[in-house]
C-alpha cells in the first residue's frame, strides 16, 4: 500500500515539474490541465482520543499546523476534505467519471489512525503489536445536490499479515450559506468488517492476559455528526470553527484496550489561502 502511495505521489510530482509553467497559466481555468489550491491552517484542536488513556497533555498537543494541498492533473488528484472540520484527511485518487451531478473516483484513503506502541503503553497493553494506519483502496461515488453532497466509499483495507478487511463509509454534508458564513452540517456512518475490527481492537488468544482477555468483537460501525463553519476574514484568510462528535458501536467501545464510546473534536483555526 505504501508503495502504491509513493507511486501516485511520484507520478504527480513528475508531471508537476514537467508542466510547472502551466500551473500559473491554468490555475483558475476549468480545464483538463493543472488545477491546484494550497491552504495553511493554524489553530487549536481539542479532542477526546478514541483510546481512553491517550490525552492531550502538553500545550503543543492542542496546536494545529497543517498544509492542505488540492491538486488535479488529467484525472489524477490529491484532495483534502474541505467540507469536513478536520482537513487532515487527504485522498489520493483517479477520477473515473465525472459530471455536474455525480462522480466516480478510485481513491486511497485513511479510514482511521494507527495505534502506536506509545498508545498501547498508555493503555497498559505494551505486549500487543502496534496497529498500522487503516489505509483502504476505495471506489467513491459522489452525488452533488444544490446545497448538499453525498459520498459512498466502498473500500478494501490492507491488514498486516491477514486477509484484507473492508469498510463502507457514507457521509451526507449540507451547506447552509448564512450572510458571509458557510455552515456545513454533516452526518455519516461507517461499517467495518469483522477482520478489520478484530485486527484493530481485538485481542488474540495468544496475547490475552488477565487484564486483557481474548476479544473478538466482529463487525462494527461508527457514526459521525459534524458542524463546521467558515468565515472570510480577508481575501486570503478564513476563520474556521468546527465540532465533530463520533459514536462507536458497543463492540468497539467494549474492547479491553480501552476505547471511548463517543469522542468529541472541537477546532478553531485560521486558514491562509494561497
Amino acid at each position: 500500500m505504501a508503495r502504491l502511495l509513493w507511486l501516485v505521489a511520484i507520478l504527480l510530482i513528475a508531471s508537476m515539474s514537467a508542466n510547472g509553467q502551466e500551473i500559473e497559466e491554468e490555475k483558475t481555468k476549468d480545464s483538463d490541465k493543472w488545477l491546484w489550491d494550497i491552504q495553511v491552517n493554524m489553530g487549536a484542536g481539542f479532542y477526546k482520543h478514541p483510546l481512553k488513556y491517550v490525552e492531550q497533555d502538553d500545550t503543543i498537543d492542542y496546536l494545529e499546523l497543517t498544509f492542505s494541498l488540492d491538486l488535479y492533473y488529467k484525472g489524477f488528484f490529491i484532495q483534502s476534505n474541505r467540507r469536513r472540520s478536520s482537513a487532515a484527511e487527504i485522498d489520493f485518487g483517479y477520477q473515473v467519471f465525472t459530471s455536474e451531478d455525480w462522480a466516480v473516483d478510485i481513491i486511497l484513503k485513511s479510514f482511521f489512525e494507527d495505534i502506536s506502541q506509545e498508545d498501547l503503553d498508555k493503555s497498559n497493553a505494551s505486549h500487543l503489536s502496534p496497529r498500522n494506519e487503516a489505509i483502504g483502496i476505495a471506489m467513491r461515488y459522489t452525488h452533488y445536490l444544490d446545497d448538499a453532497l453525498i459520498t459512498i466509499d466502498t473500500a478494501t483495507i490492507n491488514i498486516e499479515n491477514s486477509a484484507n478487511g473492508w469498510a463502507l463509509e457514507t457521509f451526507y454534508s449540507h451547506l447552509i450559506p448564512y450572510r458571509n458564513w458557510d455552515i456545513y452540517l454533516g452526518a455519516g456512518i461507517t461499517f467495518l468488517s469483522a477482520d478489520t475490527v478484530n485486527y484493530y481492537v481485538g485481542i488474540n488468544a495468544k496475547d490475552a492476559r488477565e487484564s486483557l482477555p481474548n476479544y473478538r468483537p466482529g463487525a462494527a460501525y461508527a457514526i459521525e455528526t459534524e458542524a463546521h463553519a467558515i468565515y472570510p476574514l480577508a481575501e486570503d484568510w478564513t476563520l474556521r470553527l468546527g465540532i465533530t462528535k463520533s459514536y462507536l458501536s458497543d463492540n468497539l467501545s467494549n474492547s479491553p484496550i480501552g476505547i471511548r464510546s463517543n469522542t468529541t473534536y472541537f477546532k478553531l483555526g485560521f486558514n491562509y489561502v494561497f
Binding site: 483558475t28 476549468d30 488545477l35 491546484w36 489550491d37 488540492d70 491538486l71 488535479y72 488528484f77 484532495q79 474541505r82 467540507r83 477520477q95 465525472t98 455536474e100 462522480a103 459522489t142 452533488y144 444544490d146 446545497d147 453532497l149 454534508s173 451547506l175 450559506p177 450572510r179 458571509n180 458557510d182 467558515i230 468565515y231 472570510p232 476574514l233 480577508a234 481575501e235 486570503d236 478564513t238 489561502v273
Partner: protein, 133 residues
Amino acid sequence: MYFRCLIPYFIVGSSAFVTGLLNAAENTDVPRLTALPNKCVALRHGRTCFAQITLRFTVLKPGRYCITKRNAKQPLYCESIDRYGLFNVEFQSKTKQAYVLVEQSTKQELATTVIDVAWVHQKTSRKRRWRLF
C-alpha cells in the same frame, strides 16, 4: 554658530510641515465622504457580501445632507449637520457599490466613496463548492 542661525528656520520649517500634514489629514477645503471598512469580502465569487459599514462625512457649511446609493432614487439617510456626520450602512451586494453625499436642497453631489467587493475563492459551480475539479 551655524546651528544657532539654523534653529529658527528649523522651527518655522517644522511648524509649517506639521501644519501641512494636519491640513492634508483634515482636508477641510472640500466635502468628504469615507467608508470604513471600504471592502467587503465574501467566500466565493458571485455571492452576496454582507458588512456593517460606517460612513463618515464632512461638509463645509451647516445644512441638510443625505447619503444615497449611486443610481438610487431615494436617499438612505438625511441629517441636518453643522460640519460632521456619521451613518452606519448594512451593506449587501454582489458587486462594488458607490455611495454619494448629496446636499438635500440643491441635489448637488458633494463627495463619493466606493465599497469594493472581493472574494476568497473564484469557483462557483455546484460541484466546485465541494471540490477543486
